[in-house]
């Protein structure tokens, strides 16, 4: 079956504030979607809600992943079902080596009795680290502990390459990366592109999209998708910024959840549906 992640009128809150206000989007195998938008518009909230972070409460709407109700699944079930989130701020975990963690994750996906052999695992991890131009010592370092911002990002991509997810969400994977690192990370993503894998790339710069060409570009404001288009939309944003979008849609404050009363304005637009 072809991969499909279908988000329909998703509403979610964090700490009692509604952040996602009816967001719809469908990502299929073979497609790359870029979600762009200024800071504070709910992009990370979308990512965390899809992954099932306990702080984010779903208020309404639905999400299905290959026909199954994603919102009913525990976080680990989502991961094993093939959803992957490269996080904006990955956790540091002392005492757990990168390789022990990666092996647990791979084996979790494989199940008891069919664990990956140690040798095969090490070869796989070494090969992927080489692609990402990571120092082999990172295998034995504690998970993300003392990693620079860029090293953490590469480590997220490493995990993606090892786990080969069906749907990958990249949350600001490009922030804090220099051009070289950006190119390497993009290479990692492009190496995974295939007809049955989909990507949701969250960014507020066009930069990354120079290396990974998206099929669809969505603009997020006020907790919804307010405009969608093709790659040319990203280029226009790069050239002209977000002001024209706000003007076109009559949006004064694009952020969400920051100053509840002051900026709550009636907005009857819902995100345009893809297909």
């Amino acid at each position: 079956m072809n991969t499909t992640l279908r988000i329909d009128q998703l509403r979610a809150s964090v700490e009692g504030k509604e952040i996602l206000k009816g967001l719809s989007l469908e990502v299929r195998g073979g497609e790359i979607h870029a979600v762009m938008g200024p800071n504070g518009t709910g992009k990370s909230t979308l990512a965390s809600t899809l992954m099932g972070h306990p702080k984010y409460e779903v208020l309404g709407g639905s999400v299905t992943f290959n026909g199954e109700d994603l919102l009913e699944m525990d976080v680990d079930e989502r991961g094993r079902a093939g959803l992957f989130l490269a996080m904006q701020y990955p956790s540091e975990i002392t005492g757990v080596t990168n390789s022990d963690f990666m092996r647990s994750a791979i084996n979790a996906g494989r199940g008891e009795g069919i664990e990956i052999s140690l040798l095969k695992f090490i070869r796989l991890m070494e090969a992927n680290m080489k692609t990402l131009e990571m120092n082999p010592e990172f295998m034995h370092r504690y998970l993300n502990e003392g990693f620079s911002g860029g090293e953490k990002k590469r480590n997220e991509i490493l995990q993606m390459m090892m786990l080969q997810p069906k749907i990958t969400i990249l949350d600001e994977i490009d922030s804090g990366l220099d051009i070289d690192a950006l190119r390497i990370v993009a290479q990692g993503v492009n190496s995974l592109r295939s007809a049955d894998r989909g990507f949701l790339i969250i960014t507020h710069y066009q930069r990354l999209l120079d290396y990974i060409t998206p099929d669809f570009v969505h603009i997020m404001m006020q907790g919804r998708i307010v405009k969608s288009g093709g790659p040319e939309l990203a280029q226009r944003l790069e050239a002209e910024g977000y002001e024209w979008v706000k003007e076109e849609l009559g949006i004064e404050n694009e952020t969400v959840g920051q100053d509840e009363d002051a900026f709550q304005m009636p907005m009857n637009t819902t995100g345009p549906k893809i297909r």
Binding site: M51, G52, H53, P54, D74, V75, D76, R78, G79, R80, F84, L85, M87, P90, S91, I93, T94, G95, V96, D100, F101, S104, A105, A108, G109, Y142, Q159, L163
Partner: protein
Amino acid sequence: MNTIMMSVDRNQVLESFRADQEPEWVTVLREQGFRLAEELPLPKLEKTNIERWNLGTFGEIRRPAQRDSLKDAGGATSEWIDSDNALVQRNSGIEFHRLTEELRGQGVIFTGLEQAVRENPELVKPYLMQAVRADENRMTAIHAALWSGGAFLYVPKNVQVAQPLQALFLLDDEEACFMPHVLIVAEENSSVTFVENAVSAVSRKHDQFGIMEVFVKRGAEVHVASVRGLGKQITDMTYRRAHVEADGRIRWVVGEMNAGNAMADTASILQGDGADSDAKVICVGAGEQHMNLTTRAVHIGQFSTSDMVTRAVMREDATAIINGITKIEKGASGTNGQQTEKVLMLSPKARGDANPILLIDEDDVQAGHAASVGQVNPEQIFYLMSRGIARAEAERLIVYGFLAPVISEIPNDRLRDRLQSLAERKLGQA
């Protein structure tokens, strides 16, 4: 009125040791212990009231038959012992011991302490109950009166012992007194590793007051690994104390995996210039257990250094009071004392308390501490689970990661595995 010794028949005890040809000077120490036990109070512990522990169930002196082979020794002994140089105390006496010809030839002594007071009094007398003294409190006094079996390890000048020497202390008779005393003397520029385990199989209340004394002479290096896995019915009260002379080093690795209440106080007295101490303690608490664990470094010599790390995981209703005491005496200039205590709580009812204490009477020193008490971080759980790892496994990874800085330091593979499995058992995962 002091009732703690009422269960002990003083004459039976003294008679039992006399029958065993114990030298007079040891009997005098015992009598003194009995006397002091009537007068002295129990030790005062930070935030733990041990009056409530109802201490006083000690049993009588019961010695096992000596065995020539490890196979015949009690319980699961042979599972624990893997050294060619080993000693097993079962209940009140030594059941088995062996030392290779090679080490004998080098002048190393490794026997039961009761045997050593008879055979090597000149090597034992200057040290026995000198680092920890009978008159410190009621507990040390009772120990002085009742200790039996025990281990004596003597390493002559310039002798380096590569293989760890191992002692197992096993209690499986609920009527038997169980109070081992370990005495280690490492002469100048020698080095040795001593590994001890304490385990039990009894189903009635029992109290254990143990003492370990270590004398590290100039330039010597002693590694001590102590793993306690006594059962729920046992209250384990232990003092470990090392005197370290100039340029000597002591390395402690302690695994507090008992199931019952426990008090442990592990101290390094850095007497000489350049003396160095490193102490790593891990602890897993479960059930209704109360634990009070102290590590200390006392800096007397100049340029002496110490580092103490304690990691404790508390589950269910367990409580741990973790104290770290760095004391720098006047004149101990150029010293550096560091400590870290961390407690991880796995249940809302578990309690932990980390108390770093710095007592500094000298200006020209460095001292540092860090302490934290907290729950498993939900962000970390989310992160691991998002990669497909089930919650229980994610927690397991985080807990072992928390203990890793100590477990990874253990000098011997089998001991590391055993500590790991004791930890797993206490964490309810084996």
